[in-house]
């Protein structure tokens, strides 16, 4: 593989297509964030990953290098913020931009990629107006409109969920957006039922192997945690609410055979006036992190436990012993500095000043004694994030975890993750693959071999942003030989905005 920095070639490829920012028509002269980003971009190739998509519809077919496994059949769907500027106003945070949904499909020798902007009501209104109309997660554009409901500003930009024959693009504070699984046409705001329409449905629902779905959603101003139980056919079995004040900003949770477990960091919703939604939160490290444990069979039965203040974006999995001990794991940071510093710096075109350490922890909750404990999962002191598992062991005991990792903080050419790791808990063995220095991996998933024993055979599938080549690529690894590198690799003819979460639909 050769890696070269060639921004001109990138622009030549992309320039023919409609520019999203340009489509908005007018620009806001002197938006300092936009100007700073554009200035930094010329000298900082990795920053291209945080520029807006150059097109609102991508389609390509490319050759696959290596051997694509015959049994690896299905579609990798991915989501992430892709329109970071509207009408010359650049969003202030990585998580603000409008979502773009991707589908990667292989016919064995060629990879077909399709991507479309998710046409939320917000996207449509702002595209028609040619400017940012609404406050986003952490940005308030000039003269913002009032926000009557979360779905008015829902960018559907965090994750994607194939479930009961539907493909749903997920945000964190509003409804799913339904998207056609083949054409990626946006079909509209999705309601599981009339009674649940508009209620918040977070971006990390947990789906059991039988298709049973659990989720939460937070309503900060109301101080309520919403809880969801949906069966494999998409029917709402039950919902509930738990008063939670002050509310935090939980992004993910775990589910065991008997409980929902939500860790709420002391990032408290305090001052909603005159600031962004994120800005309304205060980090209060003198307060504990609270753990909400809810009975799966009865949402009115819950208890609270405490851990030291900490911040966790993502959990791998949760499971429970018969004796009432709950186990789970998460990517733990001491503070939400990533959220407040790093992801804002990216938008200004700055390399985050300090690399926040995120370590994979294992947690135990003892329901008999009502105590929670935590400890690092392994000795290696590098940062890991985006933990994922074989979906066949979701909500039950797992022994393997796929993660992105980051080493050599000072050496790295870029501030993102640099490789993918597989940790075997039973053997306490960590195996890793490091990407070339100009390649920034995105979330990697464990895709099982059909018919194999859970957590045995399978592949690790993930995309990566090559800022040397200005290309997005897809890689497939054999779970048994991760450290040997990809067994199949395909490079798209363009680079796509750095994304967040995906799911493989077999």
């Amino acid at each position: 593989m050769t890696y070269r920095t060639n921004r001109r070639e990138f622009l030549r490829h992309a320039g023919a297509a409609m520019s999203l920012a340009g489509a908005a028509g007018t620009t806001i002269a002197g938006d300092p964030v936009q100007n700073a980003f554009e200035q930094a971009l010329t000298a900082t190739p990795w920053l291209n990953a945080f520029a807006s998509a150059q097109q609102n519809d991508y389609r390509s077919t490319v050759e696959i290098n290596g051997r694509w496994p015959d049994e690896l059949r299905g579609t990798l769907y991915r989501n992430g913020p892709a329109r970071h500027e509207v009408g010359g106003f650049r969003y202030r945070h990585w998580f603000d931009g409008d979502g773009m949904l991707h589908a990667y499909r292989s016919d064995g020798t060629r990879l077909h990629h399709r991507a479309r902007m998710i046409e939320t009501p917000k996207y449509q209104a702002e595209t028609a107006a040619g400017r940012a109309l609404y406050p986003a997660f952490d940005s308030v554009p000039p003269n913002p409109a009032e926000v009557s409901s979360a779905d008015a500003i829902n960018p559907a930009n965090i994750s994607v969920l194939p479930h009961h024959g539907k493909l749903l693009a997920l945000w964190e504070a509003g409804s799913p957006l339904e998207v056609d699984a083949e054409t990626l046409d946006t079909l509209g705001v999705y309601a599981f039922s009339d009674e649940t329409a508009g209620a918040p449905f977070s971006a990390h629902p947990r789906v059991e192997p039988d298709g049973t779905l659990w989720n939460f959603g937070y309503l900060s101003s109301a101080g309520l945690m919403a809880l969801w139980h949906v069966d494999s056919s998409g029917r709402v079995v039950k919902t509930g609410t738990v008063p939670t004040a002050p509310m935090g900003m939980p992004h993910d949770f775990v589910v065991t055979s008997r409980h929902l477990v939500i860790l709420i960091a002391p990032l408290h919703y305090r001052t909603p006036e005159g600031t962004s939604f994120l800005g309304a939160h205060e980090w209060e490290p003198d307060h504990p992190a609270k753990i909400l444990v809810v009975d799966k069979n009865d949402f009115s039965a819950y208890r609270w436990l405490e851990l030291p203040a900490q911040w966790v974006f993502h959990f791998g999995n949760g499971w429970e012993e018969k004796n009432g001990i709950i186990h789970f794991d998460g990517a733990r940071a001491d503070s939400p500095a990533l959220m407040f510093d790093d992801f804002r710096a990216l938008m200004r075109g700055e390399r985050p000043r300090r690399q926040t350490s995120v370590r994979q922890y294992r947690y135990q909750v003892d329901l008999r004694r009502n105590i929670a404990t935590e400890a690092p999962m392994f000795d290696e002191r590098f940062s890991t994030e985006f933990p994922t598992i074989d979906p066949r062991v979701s909500c039950r005991r797992n022994d393997r975890l796929v993660m992105l990792h980051r080493k050599d903080e000072k050496q790295a050419l870029h501030p993102m993750f640099c490789g993918v790791s597989l940790y075997d808990m039973k053997a306490d063995k960590l195996r890793s693959f490091d990407y070339p220095p100009t390649v920034m991996p995105e979330e990697h998933l464990f895709v099982p071999t059909p018919g194999s024993e859970p957590e045995s055979d399978g592949w690790i599938v993930g995309t990566a942003y090559d800022f040397g080549n200005l290309r997005t690529e897809l890689n497939v690894f054999d779970v048994a030989h991760l450290e040997d590198g990809p067994i199949a690799r395909a490079e798209l003819p363009y680079a796509l905005p750095f994304g967040l979460h995906g799911k493989f639909a077999a």
Binding site: T196, A199, P200, A222, P272
Partner: protein
């Protein structure tokens, strides 16, 4: 489990039975107040209208100057009253499409039927504040409210 409805005060108000053309009573001939209600999506169900000053707004609990129920008619509807004396008011309307006497909400308390306030204030993640919905009545007065879900 207790369902929390943040629009509850509006509902309670109407559960007490609406008083058509309300509490006017006094003998002085008042000027005419006209409320134009736009975007009535269907002729099913009823429109619940209430108009009051700040003491009647939201949780404040005071009496509204006007409360009434109109049979819905698709399109725009006009409501006139001479029951308002000069002053500062807020008006709110909701469309009880299924005729169950309530503004239906989802399990976290967000309305599921069309509603609107004066000045078309929508609030920020909750009902709007009085300051955003207030309008002056002085002589003949005319306002409009657009219903949205």
């Amino acid at each position: 489990m207790r369902q929390i409805n943040r629009y509850g005060p509006i509902l309670q108000l109407f559960r007490q039975v609406a008083l058509a053309f309300g509490l006017a009573g006094s003998g002085t001939a008042a000027a005419e107040f006209t409320l134009l209600i736009e975007n009535v999506q269907t002729a099913e169900g009823d429109l619940y209208i209430s108009i009051g000053d700040e003491t009647a707004f939201g949780d404040a609990g005071g009496k509204h100057a006007v409360q009434t129920i109109l049979k819905a008619r698709a399109g725009s509807m006009r409501f006139c009253t001479d029951a308002l004396t000069d002053g500062t008011y807020a008006a709110q309307v909701y469309h009880d499409v299924n005729g169950n006497g309530e503004l239906d909400s989802n399990f976290v308390g967000m309305p599921r039927e069309p509603w609107g306030f004066s000045n078309n204030a929508r609030g920020n993640f909750g009902p709007p504040k009085f300051a955003d919905t207030r309008f002056e009545v002085k002589g003949d007065t005319r306002i409009s409210i657009r219903l949205e879900k």
